[in-house]
């Protein structure tokens, strides 16, 4: 089953051989990592990824700057063209005129092609950077230990990996373009100032005001659009609940109450949108018409200067064109500065994840074991979650090929034992060894290679049933997969699904019952044929009759390996050669079912409590979506992501 390793310069240290891969890599890995030096500022930390794309970046910047400079000459040349009309008409010699037209046309064409390539290159760099950051964050997540995931919410991680990265991308896309257009402003200003100092200053008089007003507008807009979205989500939540709870609404004749509830939310939405309208009604006409004020001054004051003979008419034409060109960047400058703030904050949040390191690492001189016998030994193991002691000096031994059941109340530390055995967490005190080798001395992947576990809520990926079963051994043959499915009593129901083994399941596929998922989980573990098998409440949701059948096939399979069972049902416990009774982080007793029934009074107590809990525990999982997650889900359904289209027109139009 050991796959040849795929060449990888990567971010994650991937041991060769232990990791089956059944996908072809179509895109190269990120060429660079972020700068791990936490003292540097955010931009310098991202810089290595940017520099890895320096060819595109350099090409883009060079092209943008050159074409901008070429572009700046166009208005001046058109001014010249206007001025050449009169002399050309009087002399009748039109070749100079045509020559000028041709020059301008060529320059514009070069600017078109160069500018398009340049800004496309810059766009590519920011897209590449976004993709690389996504991969770097994703890859890093797999290097973290479970204590990190315990304290971090999945939703938060996803939002960081998504909108925060997007914010950085947005800034790095806009900033170079805006900076080059500011460069064009500098050139245009130099030209204007050199033509006529006071006219140039007069025509630019409105620009600071435009800048100031745009910044102000943006500051006012943010809270409004934020609140608009929140109110839109409110409306959506009311509608969603109303549709799903329509029967209740009708049962209690509460239609009017619901209409009023919606009316109130719709009124709030109306209120905030009217306020947005008012803000744009004040600022937008002002900003747009202030832009024209410069032109008025050019034509009136400039017109006076033409009459005085100080400048030519063509210069006025050029001036108006320059004014259009240079005002745009100023309308966006304030936005870019704000975006920089936001990108900085976003980068901070992403670095928080990337700066996280795992305490669980392979040792330099790790022991690699090809085969193991499967003896397990816990010696004086203590462990605490967030200062709450779970295991207190726990010791026990498991012989090779022995089947041991662990019984104990909720919170007694059953699941912790298997998490420590798989080294998802590090023990605080004591040691755990397999075949006499401490788990810390083994390579983590080597350790996982020998252990397979089935959890009470087995996770299924959104792939076919076949691929889910073959998850641990993608190279398994169809026969082996069917065999494993049969052993787990899953074959029959799989055959009944619409596409059999090819049916896609998981969050985005066919919905299976808890019992069916558990059976797939068992099949998945059996296919790996591990030396140590862990069944953590793995049959809790399976019908009693089917469970009995599974046990029959399990009995045959368990003899060949060491098995640890965590179970509530007596029927499952009876599979074990020996039962460990766990109480308050310690082993209370150990022995067969009959022995414990007569000799250990706590044993029957614990069993009774466990079976009572069973039903309750399952029910509590009906709805654990928090308010925030629910709102988010609904609002994502209804609020279309308009971000990409937002920049459609650009600022240099």
């Amino acid at each position: 089953m050991l796959n040849p390793s795929v060449d990888d310069k990567g971010i994650v240290d991937l041991d060769a051989g232990l990791e089956p891969v059944n996908v072809e890599q179509r895109f190269a890995n990120p060429k660079a990592d972020i700068d791990r030096d936490q003292t540097k500022n955010w931009f310098r930390r991202v810089l290595p990824i940017l520099l890895a794309n320096r060819r595109s970046f350099g090409l883009g910047i060079t092209l943008m700057v050159t074409t901008m400079m070429l572009g700046v000459s166009v208005p001046a040349l058109i001014g010249k063209l206007v001025d050449s009309i009169e002399p050309t008409l009087s002399t009748g010699e039109i070749s100079d005129f045509i020559f000028l037209v041709t020059i301008i046309l060529i320059i514009s064409l070069i600017r078109f092609i160069g500018g398009a390539i340049g800004s496309y290159q810059l766009g590519r760099v920011s897209n590449q950077l976004e993709a690389d950051l996504r991969s770097v964050v994703y890859n890093h997540l797999f290097t973290l230990s479970f204590s990190f995931f315990d304290k971090t919410q999945t939703g938060q991680l996803i939002s960081r990996a998504n909108s925060d990265i997007k914010t950085i991308q947005m800034f790095l896309m806009i900033a170079p373009m805006l900076l080059t257009s500011l460069l064009s402003f500098a050139f245009a200003a130099i030209y204007m100032l050199s033509v006529h100092l006071t006219l140039a200053l007069a025509s630019m008089i409105a620009i600071p005001l435009v800048f100031f007003l745009s910044v102000k507008l943006r500051k006012l807009t943010f809270p409004l659009s934020w609140l608009t979205q929140a109110r839109q989500a409110d409306v959506a939540v009311i509608v969603d609940e109303n549709i799903n709870g329509q029967r209740i609404v009708k049962s209690f004749a509460q239609e009017l109450m619901q209409v009023n509830l919606l009316a109130r939310a719709a009124k709030k939405l109306q209120w905030v949108q009217v306020r947005s309208v008012d803000v744009s009604a004040f600022y937008n006409p002002l900003i747009e018409n202030l832009t024209v004020l410069g032109s008025v001054l050019v034509w009136v004051y400039g017109g006076w200067l033409v009459i005085e003979g100080e400048i030519a008419l063509g210069s006025l034409v050029a001036f108006t064109m320059y004014l259009m060109m240079i005002q745009m960047p100023f309308r966006f400058l304030g936005w870019m500065l704000m975006l920089e703030q936001r990108a900085k904050a976003s980068a901070g949040r992403i670095f928080e994840i990337l700066d996280e390191t795992s305490e669980i690492k392979d040792k330099e001189d790790k022991v690699e074991m090809k085969e193991i016998k499967g003896s397990i030994s816990f010696k004086n193991v203590s462990f605490a979650y967030a200062n709450e002691p779970i295991l207190k000096g726990l010791s026990f031994e498991v012989e090779p090929n022995e089947t041991v059941a662990i019984v104990g109340q909720t919170g007694s530390g059953k699941s912790t034992i298997i998490r420590l055995l798989s080294r998802f967490y590090e023990v605080d005190k004591g040691s755990i060894s397999i075949d006499g080798v401490k788990v810390q001395d083994m390579g983590v992947k080597n350790l996982h290679y020998h252990i397979a576990q089935v959890l009470d809520e087995p996770f299924l990926f959104s792939v076919s049933i076949k691929d889910n079963i073959a998850y641990g051994r993608p190279d398994a043959s169809m026969d082996e997969i069917i065999q494993a499915a049969k052993a787990a009593e899953a074959h029959d129901f799989i055959e009944q699904t619409s596409e059999g083994y090819e049916t896609v399941v998981g969050e985005r596929g066919y919905t299976l019952s808890g019992g069916q998922r558990q059976r797939l989980g068992i099949a998945r573990a059996l296919l790996v044929d591990p030396s140590i098998l862990i069944l953590d409440d793995a049959t809790s949701a399976i019908d009693v009759r089917i469970e009995a059948k599974i046990h029959k096939s399990l009995l045959k399979l368990l003899n060949k390996r060491t098995t640890i069972l965590i179970a509530h049902r007596l029927s499952t416990i009876s599979l074990a050669d020996r039962i460990l009774v766990l109480d308050k982080g310690k082993i209370l007793a150990s022995g067969t079912h009959e022995y414990l029934l007569t000799n250990e009074p706590r044993y029957s107590e614990i069993l009774a409590q466990q079976s009572n809990k069973e039903t309750v525990v399952e029910e509590e999982k009906t709805s654990d979506e928090s308010d925030e997650e629910y709102r988010k889900r609904i609002s994502e359904m209804v609020i279309k992501d308009t971000s990409e289209e937002g920049f459609k027109g650009g600022f240099d139009e």
């Binding site: 089956p20 890599q25 895109f27 063209l81 206007v82 009169e86 039109i94 005129f97 045509i98 037209v101 514009s108 500018g115 398009a116 800004s119 496309y120 766009g123 993709a131 996504r134 991969s135 994703y138 990996a161 807009t221 943010f222 979205q229 959506a236 509608v239 609940e241 799903n244 029967r247 009708k250 209690f252 209409v259 009316a263 109130r264 719709a266 109306q270 949108q273 306020r275 008012d278 006409p285 024209v292 008025v296 034509w299 009136v300 017109g303 008419l313 996982h448 990926f461 998850y471 641990g472 993608p474 998981g506 009572n612 029910e619 928090s626 209804v638 990409e644 289209e645 937002g646 650009g650």
Partner: protein
């Protein structure tokens, strides 16, 4: 919304950046409560007219035309500038007349001033009008949803109905506030600009129309179509990226214990790579479009100047400022050309907006034209003081006229009696309950309540005296108290507490950190399904119905709560007609009459003792059930 604002809207609930926190809080504080809003609701549709864009707008037509007049004014004011450029050149600069220059300055600044004011008024006026329309539409569509019968609300429709109320209305709002007005505004602008252009020079305008305009129009049209497609791809690919991320995080433990990190890393890279490629594509389109419009504009200027030059050469070689075509006209013409392209860009960009707006109108029309399958009759009346005597006469029911669920059921339930329906799933017992509530109408036969045909009773009065507790206890977002109060919002706090006591959840609620004010959906305090069912019972208790229907309402209750439920039922059923549909035969035993239903009809009917003695179908069911109960208790030990 401005373009920048739309970009910022990219971060839904990603949090408020710290520098914006104060402003946002200040805004939220200013937000009115609107608790005094009172709409009205009737089960009868207020208007029989089909929903069209026009029928929707017509009540506001006067205001709409006023708005259009304002639009026309602003568009005309925009042209003052280019016209004044021509005047300045031909009347002032060339003849060297300072006084005219001053006039030009004053008129121009005046027009700008006027433009600021009129545009401001226009935006405010139209924006308010649009928001008012949207408010009306939201309430109208939502009210209509309340009117529709239960058979309309199938699960597959839920998501689509939500989009009717949200993105479709949003699309229509965009169409009205920006799309429609923009269309009119841009068409007007185009019209005015063309008049002015023609007045400057006929031939030059024709050259512009023949050579430049189609190129610009086609180019923008190409852009708006391809970019729409491109962004659709981007959207679907980013959702792949996020779904994969989500799945990897949820299945993290599995990935690590099966050593599949490398596989996942490569797979994610592929998905991210596809997403990047989609982004590259849109970047390419955008870069081409941005630079392309610029090029077309410059090329057009050159065309205008060259053609203008030759026209000048022909008609006015001496450049007489009084001539038919002058340098001033040429320069002004060029200034106007840049403006001429704005409507062209906008018009072809409007295509997408129109498509989605029009689609939204059609979808909303479909929804609003849907008639409820259960309608109030014309002369229905409010039934007061229901006693609870129910009679079914030869009732048959089939879904969609095909699948027969009930056949010729006749049954009399006396007021105050408890009747229990038992039988296998799909036998039709829940359907009887739904028919009694008039969630559906029987295909044949009739149902009377206190000897009045259900169809003659107003839905409001029927439902307010009838309580039904369904199998899946639906809880709304909000506190426990809100959910209990749902049945009767005007009930006092004491009554709520009493209802909780009646069903035995008072103590459980008191233990919660926030008691009755605890949110039902919040993580950590989520209720077990047994507790939810008890809550639903409390809700039914509060409504004090004359007829109570429990549709498998106690099926999910766990052993711990079972005793509580039995006690709660004692109080709930007291003095009212009750219909219990149940799996759990323990609940059934208490009924005065047990009705066994299977294969679309009544098989047996009688009290528990009678049916047990009869040794028929009920006897069999009861025996099996008792055996299962024993096994369950054995399984514990």
């Amino acid at each position: 919304m401005s373009r920048e604002a739309r970009i910022e809207a990219n971060l839904p609930f990603a949090g408020i950046p710290p520098e914006m926190l104060d402003r946002t809080n200040a805004l939220i504080e200013k937000e009115p409560d609107f608790s005094d809003i009172q709409e009205s609701f009737s089960h009868k549709s207020p208007s029989s007219r089909a929903f069209t864009l026009w029928s929707f707008l017509s009540p506001y037509k006067f205001r709409f035309f006023l708005a259009l007049a304002l639009v026309a004014m602003t568009e005309m004011l925009l042209l003052v500038g280019p016209y004044l450029v021509q005047v300045a050149i031909d009347k002032a600069i060339v003849p060297k007349d300072f006084s005219i220059l001053t006039t030009v300055a004053m008129v121009w600044v005046g027009s700008l001033f006027l433009a600021v004011i009129i545009s401001g008024i226009r935006i405010r006026f139209l924006g308010r009008l649009g928001q008012l329309l949207m408010y009306d539409l939201r309430v109208r569509v939502f009210s209509h949803l309340q009117r529709l019968s239960l058979d309309f609300f199938t699960e597959e429709k839920a998501g689509r109905l939500l989009t009717r109320m949200t993105s479709d209305i949003e699309a229509l709002s965009n169409l009205l506030q920006t799309g429609l007005v923009n269309l009119v505004a841009q068409l007007l602008a185009l019209f005015f600009i063309l008049i002015l252009l023609f007045s400057f020079n006929l031939q030059l305008t024709l050259i512009l129309l023949v050579f430049s305009a189609p190129v610009m129009f086609g180019f923008t049209f190409w852009f708006s179509k391809t970019s729409k497609r491109g962004y659709e791809v981007v959207r679907s690919r980013i959702s792949n990226v996020l779904a994969d991320l989500q799945e990897s995080l949820s299945g993290m433990r599995l990935v690590i214990s099966f050593n599949r990190m490398k596989h996942n890393v490569i797979n994610h890279r592929n998905i991210v790579g596809d997403y990047r490629d989609a982004n590259h594509y849109t970047s390419k389109i955008q870069a081409t479009y941005r630079q392309g419009t610029q090029f077309i504009t410059t090329a057009t200027s050159l065309l205008v100047f060259t053609a203008g030059f030759f026209i000048l050469k022909n008609v006015n070689p001496s450049l007489d400022p009084e001539g038919t075509f002058t340098v001033g006209s040429l320069v002004a013409f060029n200034v106007l050309v840049a403006r001429f392209f704005i409507p062209i860009n906008e018009l072809s960009g409007l295509y997408n907006e129109f498509q989605s707006g029009n689609a939204a109108v059609l979808k909303l029309r479909d929804l609003l034209d849907t008639e409820p399958s259960v309608k109030e009759s014309e002369n229905c009346f409010d039934l007061k003081d229901l006693k609870g005597d129910i009679r079914l006469k030869d009732v048959s029911f089939s879904y969609d006229g095909n699948i027969t669920v009930l056949k010729n059921i006749s049954l009399h339930i006396e007021a105050g009696k408890t009747v229990s329906f038992v039988g296998p799933t799909g036998g039709g017992k829940s359907t009887i309950a739904k028919l009694m509530c008039r969630f559906y109408d029987p295909s044949e036969g009739s149902i009377t309540l206190d000897n009045i045909n259900l169809k003659d009773i107003s839905l409001q009065s029927l439902h307010s005296q009838l309580g039904i507790v369904p199998q899946e206890p639906f809880l709304f977002h909000g506190t426990i108290k809100d959910n209990i109060l749902f049945a009767r919002p005007e009930a006092t706090d004491e009554e709520v507490v009493e209802a909780c006591k009646a069903v035995g959840i008072e103590e459980m609620i008191r233990r919660l950190p926030e008691g009755l004010e605890t949110h039902c959906h919040e993580r950590g305090s989520s209720l077990s399904s047994g507790e939810r069912q008890l809550l639903a019972l409390a809700r039914a208790f509060l409504s004090k119905p004359r007829v109570l229907i429990l549709d498998e309402a106690t099926s999910n209750v766990d052993q711990q709560n079972e005793a509580k439920i039995e006690k709660a039922l004692d109080r709930l059923l007291e003095g009212r007609t009750a219909i219990i549909i149940a799996h759990r035969l323990a609940t059934t035993r208490r009924a005065d009459v047990i009705v066994v239903i299977d294969e679309q009809q009544i098989l047996e009917m009688g009290s528990h003792e009678e049916l047990i003695q009869k040794k028929g179908r009920y006897f069999q069911m009861y025996e099996t059930w008792e055996r299962q109960e024993e096994e369950k208790s054995e399984d514990i030990l």
